[in-house]
């Protein structure tokens, strides 16, 4: 038994805090709803309901005739090809910038802090990679469609630039957070930077680098479908066309093919990552 007699508290001290935060959240919901024109009853307005029912009704039966399926398969291949080509170019963009921005390969940093010039160069390259990453690939695609016209070129370039920035940043993080002792030892003993990279950094981190690249390839497939909506071809463009023509059967087939494609890419990517890592 305690020696001093304590009185039981009669109020929960956390109560006021909880009431405050919950009220603040509820109060904030109102302007958010107004700004987004959140009117769920619009969905069940008779006019919209009729259009929705018509569209959804068109989903069954799926359009499965040979000509359309041939088109779908061609466009699926184009989507995959766009993603692969875009990612390859992204690697071409990312690798030199990763090497340039990598602090582990700094020779001036072997003895004390990095020299000014190289430090600024590395930081500048990083900012450039962040810039490449920050602009959504859709915006890049819109710009390139103006320059090179409709078609997969715009999509491939958009993916190349955005993913180049992403890959560059993540490769840089992987290389710097891995084991750097080997590479620094090689540099100290006088090997060139590229030699140190190929004999030190790359073998140490190869598994993680490939794993991430394979994961990004899967994301690139989704991106290339999205880019199809602004004219870059592939499944996305076909879906846009079919939706504009209100052809529910075609849209349903395309959606199912897309979900299957993503699931397949997911499996392939997981299998590859397991086999490599």
């Amino acid at each position: 038994m305690s020696t001093t007699v304590l009185r039981a508290p009669d109020r929960d001290p956390a109560w006021l805090g909880r009431v405050f935060w919950i009220s603040a959240l509820l109060v904030l919901l109102w302007p958010l709803g107004v700004a987004t024109e959140f009117k769920p009853w619009v969905l069940v307005e008779p006019r919209n309901l009729k259009v929705t029912a018509q569209f959804l009704g068109g989903f069954w039966p799926l359009t499965l005739n040979a000509e359309f399926m041939g088109l779908v398969l061609r466009e699926t291949w184009r989507t995959v090809a766009m993603a692969t080509a875009g990612l390859t170019l992204a690697l071409v963009v990312a690798i030199p910038f990763t090497l340039l921005s990598n602090r582990v390969l700094s020779i001036s940093a072997l003895v004390g802090p990095m020299a000014r010039g190289p430090a600024w160069l590395r930081q500048g390259v990083r900012w450039f990679l962040v810039f490449l990453r920050s602009i959504p690939e859709l915006v890049w695609a819109l710009v390139f469609v103006r320059v090179v016209g409709l078609g997969p070129t715009a999509g491939v370039l958009a993916i190349a630039l955005t993913y180049g920035g992403m890959l560059g940043k993540v490769y840089g993080e992987i290389l710097e957070s891995g084991e750097t002792h080997t590479t620094q030892n090689l540099l100290r003993n006088g090997s060139g930077r590229l030699q140190a990279f190929f004999y030190g950094l790359l073998p140490t981190n190869a598994a993680e680098l490939t794993s991430y690249t394979v994961y990004r390839w899967e994301c690139a497939i989704r991106s290339s479908v999205v880019l199809g909506f602004v004219g870059a071809g592939g499944l996305g463009q076909q879906m846009d066309n079919s939706m504009k023509m209100f052809n529910g059967g075609e849209v349903a087939t395309l959606l199912l093919v897309f979900i299957a494609l993503v699931a397949l890419a997911d499996q392939v990517s997981a299998w590859l990552r397991k086999a490599l890592g």
């Binding site: 038994m1 304590l6 039981a8 508290p9 001290p13 909880r18």
Partner: protein, 277 residues
């Protein structure tokens, strides 16, 4: 609550089919309102026995009767109601780390609360004085509104025991109540548990490694070894020879050198890179 075990055998939940049962051919009768201590070396099956009594484990052979009712023959709803009348305090206190002590302690009373009252209690604890009194008997009253993960191991164990005082149970099954407590606190905890059990006429079954405490405080002591009852005697009749035979080849436990239970570490959650940006 009256307990009646006849030739009961039970297997550890993770054991292979065909493995030796953890407890074998146990014959045990405990009258309502008795206080019993179960002692024995590690691996004797003490925890398994408590789990069988708590209807958390189905026996593989023999019969179990609680208040002359066979629990595993009841309908699911009746079994749930029966479970509400017993209380199991496991060795590792079952307290969610970020929950406050008041809510964790009051959770023991949930079987007696309706759904609406339970939900209300989540937002505002419905019996602060009750929780305060229960904790005060273990000298923890000032920790009422603290978070569980800010308590020490011994304090958490006492909170786990304080839950028993609030449970609407007629049978208390306590597994190693004193493992993290120093001698003063151990004495206080045992006094409180036994005192409350006697006041309410609750049947108390506790497993203990502290043989001296068991012999000093409990009127009846059961010794388990290798899954079988070695002796079942009033405390005065337990001789040193019997203890030595019970703890043969486990003398370090008899002397009080027990390995401490590991505390589960609280890890901070990190978001996983599972998106495509």
């Amino acid at each position: 609550m009256k307990i009646d075990l006849q030739a009961l055998s039970a297997r550890h939940p993770a054991a292979r089919v065909g493995a030796v049962p953890a407890i074998r051919l146990i014959d045990l009768q405990i009258a309502s309102g008795e206080q019993v201590a179960v002692i024995g070396p590690s691996g004797a099956g003490k925890t398994t026995l408590l789990q069988v009594l708590a209807c958390a484990l189905t026996p593989t052979a023999g019969s179990l009767q609680l208040d002359e009712v066979a629990p595993w023959r009841l309908s699911r709803r009746a079994l749930q109601r029966l479970r509400g009348q017993l209380f199991l305090a496991p060795q590792v206190p079952p307290l969610p780390p970020r929950q406050r002590v008041v809510t964790a302690v009051l959770a023991a009373r949930l079987p007696a609360m309706g759904l609406l009252a339970s939900l209300r209690s989540l937002f505002y604890p419905n019996d602060i004085p009750g929780a305060f009194d229960a904790l005060d008997r273990f000298d923890l009253a000032e920790k009422l509104f603290e978070r569980v993960d800010r308590l020490s191991g011994g304090e958490r164990q006492r909170v786990g025991l304080a839950r028993a005082l609030l449970a609407p149970a007629k049978l208390w099954l306590i597994d190693e109540p004193l493992s993290a407590l120093d001698p003063t606190r151990s004495r206080q905890a045992i006094d409180t548990l036994l005192g409350s059990a006697r006041e309410r006429g609750v049947t108390l079954v506790a497993t203990l490694h502290q043989v001296d405490v068991a012999l000093a405080h409990f009127p009846r002591v059961i010794g388990l070894r290798d899954g079988e009852v070695a002796f079942d005697l009033p405390a005065e009749q337990v001789t040193r020879e019997r203890l030595a035979a019970l703890y043969d080849q486990f003398e370090h436990e008899l002397r009080g050198e027990v390995t401490p239970i590991p505390e589960n570490n609280v890890t901070t959650p990190q978001p996983v890179v599972m998106h495509c940006r």
